[in-house]
């Protein structure tokens, strides 16, 4: 049982830290506001910077332009990126974490060539067309239809929660190609160009008031048959290749970043006064902070344990669901604690009286998505109790 990073891990850390120290300030603050093309420009330029420096696709194989870093180097990467407060993966998220890896596993040579290098260089942005108004946790019940007509699938349906659809070049799209087969067996995975006729994007403002979510309406969109990834009706299996990717280390940087946020919270508590004393003098607040700190340390230890387990066995550990479940709820508790600390200063979405209200309120509100997205907490609990504890399955 050894927690020490190797000398070569530490060399990698030193190089990366030095690079980030220069690159992050150079790249500047992320743009505020709702202009998604500006946001795309900022995020993809950062991706290009990472690529040019050899840090893009940290877990991607070398043959696809990735770093192919060892698992412990990946941990170092997530720690340093969080520490440097480097730009978030942003609009590159779906391409880097879902689309790209799916194509590596299932794409034809032509498909790989068309997409993989542009994704890792920040030249091609992807969005995800999985969920539908009637297919959320029960994703396999999706009803967007696709019928083969000559050299194209004709697609009609309605997708929802599609982040960054406004600025995406491609959509990883799940469609039903065989309505008569059992629900998991009639699904096909398409890499749909977003500039085809018949695609309508309608923004769906989140409770933050932001517009990264969209609904995507598809009406007789002709998606060329060469955009199909994997076999017809084999899309569910293809999809699960990506979903297991998502439950890996996707949140690692956020988790580490949360430690920094907690330190910020402690500093803030010393600046906020209550009854002429600093809020930090309140023992119950200190205990709440200490509680979160202990759990965060434990989660980070669990990430290390799981990563080392994956390194040993070659497959992602079963406890990824546990990490996701606990982390997402913990971040919400932290949001709540920060709001309590701000008190009435949290009633505005702008900074009030020199306090960082806007960021704290933003984080507290945004954290509400974490227990819903990428498998809700209830679904994670089903997975843990059925796949790990072996309890009887839910009907599905």
């Amino acid at each position: 049982m050894d927690l020490r990073y190797s000398e070569s891990d530490e060399r990698f850390r030193a190089e990366l830290r030095a690079w980030l120290a220069q690159a992050v300030p150079e790249h500047g603050e992320p743009p505020r506001g709702a202009d998604w093309s500006v946001r795309r420009e900022y995020d993809t330029a950062w991706q290009r910077r990472l690529f040019d420096a050899g840090y893009a696709g940290i877990n991607w194989p070398k043959e696809y332009g990735g770093r192919d870093a060892s698992l412990t180097e990946q941990l170092v990467y997530y720690e340093e990126v969080a520490r440097a407060r480097a730009p978030y993966v942003g609009v590159n998220f779906v391409g880097l974490l879902h689309g790209g890896p799916t194509l590596m596993a299932e794409g034809t040579p032509e498909q790989k060539q068309r997409h993989i290098a542009p994704i890792i260089r920040g030249e091609q942005v992807w969005c995800q067309g999985f969920s539908e108004p009637g297919a959320g946790s029960d994703l396999a019940s999706l009803s967007t239809r696709a019928e083969l007509d000559g050299d194209a699938y004709v697609v009609s349906g309605h997708k929802i929660w599609t982040s960054f659809a406004q600025v995406a070049d491609y959509c990883e799209l799940l469609v039903r190609t065989d309505p008569n087969a059992p629900k998991h067996r009639g699904i096909t995975w398409l890499a749909m160009p977003m500039d085809l006729p018949g695609i309508e994007i309608r923004p769906l403002p989140t409770l933050l008031g932001s517009g990264e979510f969209s609904e995507v309406y598809l009406e007789n969109v002709r998606v060329p048959v060469e955009c199909r990834v994997g076999a017809e009706n084999d899309g569910w299996r293809v999809t699960n290749v990506t979903l297991s990717f998502e439950r890996g280390t996707a949140f690692a940087s956020d988790m580490y970043q949360l430690q920094q946020s907690l330190r910020d919270l402690a500093s803030l508590a010393r600046r906020v006064t209550r009854d002429e004393a600093s809020a930090w003098d309140d023992r119950s607040l200190r205990r709440d902070v200490g509680h979160l700190a202990a759990e965060l340390d434990a989660i980070w230890a669990m990430v290390k344990y799981t990563v080392c387990e994956a390194g040993k066995t070659g497959v992602p550990g079963m406890t990824g669901s546990c990490i996701k479940l606990h982390y997402s709820e913990l971040k919400q508790r932290m949001g709540e604690l920060s709001m309590r600390l701000l008190g009435r200063a949290a009633l505005g979405r702008a900074d009030v009286a020199g306090l960082p209200s806007s960021e704290i309120v933003h984080q507290a509100l945004q954290s509400l998505s974490l227990t819903i997205a990428a498998g809700s907490s209830q679904i994670q609990r089903n997975i843990i109790s059925e796949r790990i504890l072996g309890l009887p399955r839910e009907p599905r």
Binding site: A293, K312, Q378
Partner: protein, 327 residues
């Protein structure tokens, strides 16, 4: 970095597990309940297994292992609710002759926490040596010199309690920094026992939920029940990571702050044990409220371990200080 059990560590864990399964099954625990909760013969067997001499150098008759190994052993002792002043006897093995071999049973009193409470000592009637951790050092006492009254019945049927009238002058066997260090190391061992309790409470409850049928189905098929168990498992795995990290960090201070890792482990494992033992009682339903089902043993032992080497509240305040120091 290889934050996984080595083959030797797996063998160590499996060895102690099969020993504890054989010697400290539920029937044995029931029997111990009527015998003052302590058996010198079993204590001797624990010593032979190396439980007390685990971290003592081989040249001194020990096993020569570290805290990463000790927490594995103590998690197994926790799983089976092995009674006795286990942590104290291991902590003092290098200072008190005969502790490692089990001939001398060492118990202790931690006076470094918030003061003012009654002087309660676990297993006093069975002790050969009592050690107290105070802010002025580590002190050794002969239990026969102490004026004490049993507190009967004790909360945990396997942890007899005496109340001391006062603490006389003793023999100083360590300074203030030794006392502080022993308290942290003791917290790591207690955290490991709490991990074992969290694990076993979850396993007992899951096993029951699989078998027990109501409305014509196993109760473990209902989300209301299975989600309780999923949460219990998650807490247990979080506690495992924290406890293992505490052990590894005490062994190699280069990887982080030992006191911080231990405070996190004691807090997370303490909460996991408390909530999982409650969950176990809840999942057992009416039977969980009976003496017959051992679920209550787990909760009661948790309360005992929560109150040694720093409570959840104390650890939380420690953690807050660590956060503030880094801010």
């Amino acid at each position: 970095m290889d934050f996984q059990l080595s083959e030797d560590q797996e063998a160590l864990r499996d060895g102690i597990r099969s020993f504890c399964d054989g010697r400290f099954g539920i029937e044995a625990l029931r029997e111990l309940e009527g015998k003052g909760a302590f058996d010198r013969e079993l204590w001797g067997e624990l010593a032979e297994m190396g439980v007390f001499g685990l971290r003592l150098a081989e040249a001194d008759g020990g096993v020569g292992l570290g805290y990463a190994d000790a927490v594995l052993v103590f998690a197994e002792l926790g799983r089976r609710l092995v009674p006795g002043p286990l942590a104290w006897s291991q902590l003092l093995a290098d200072r008190i002759d005969g502790a490692a071999s089990g001939e001398v049973v060492v118990g202790g009193l931690d006076l470094l926490g918030p003061g003012g409470g009654p002087l309660l000592v676990e297993y006093l009637a069975h002790l050969d040596v009592l050690v107290a951790l105070r802010d002025d050092g580590v002190w050794r006492f002969d239990p026969r010199d102490l004026e004490a009254m049993p507190v009967e019945p004790a909360l945990d049927p396997h942890t007899p309690i005496h109340q001391l009238a006062s603490l006389p002058a003793g023999e100083r066997i360590g300074d203030a920094s030794d006392a502080g260090r022993l308290r942290i190391e003791g917290a790591a061992l207690a955290a490991a026992q709490l991990l074992g309790i969290a694990e076993m409470s979850q396993e007992l409850a899951t096993e029951y939920a699989r078998k027990r049928e109501q409305f014509g189905r196993p109760i473990g098929s209902f989300q209301a029940v299975k989600h309780i168990l999923a949460d219990a498992f998650t807490r247990q795995e979080l506690a495992r990571a924290a406890v293992y990290a505490a052990g590894a960090t005490l062994d190699d201070p280069a990887v982080g702050s030992g006191p911080r890792a231990v405070a996190a482990a004691k807090l997370v494992a303490g909460e996991a044990a408390m909530k999982n033992a409650r969950a176990c009682i809840q999942v057992y339903g009416g039977m969980g409220y009976t003496w017959e089902i051992p679920a209550h043993y787990y909760l009661k032992r948790t309360w005992v371990l929560e109150n040694v080497f720093g409570t959840v509240d104390e650890q939380a305040e420690q953690m807050a200080e660590h956060v503030a120091a880094d801010a």
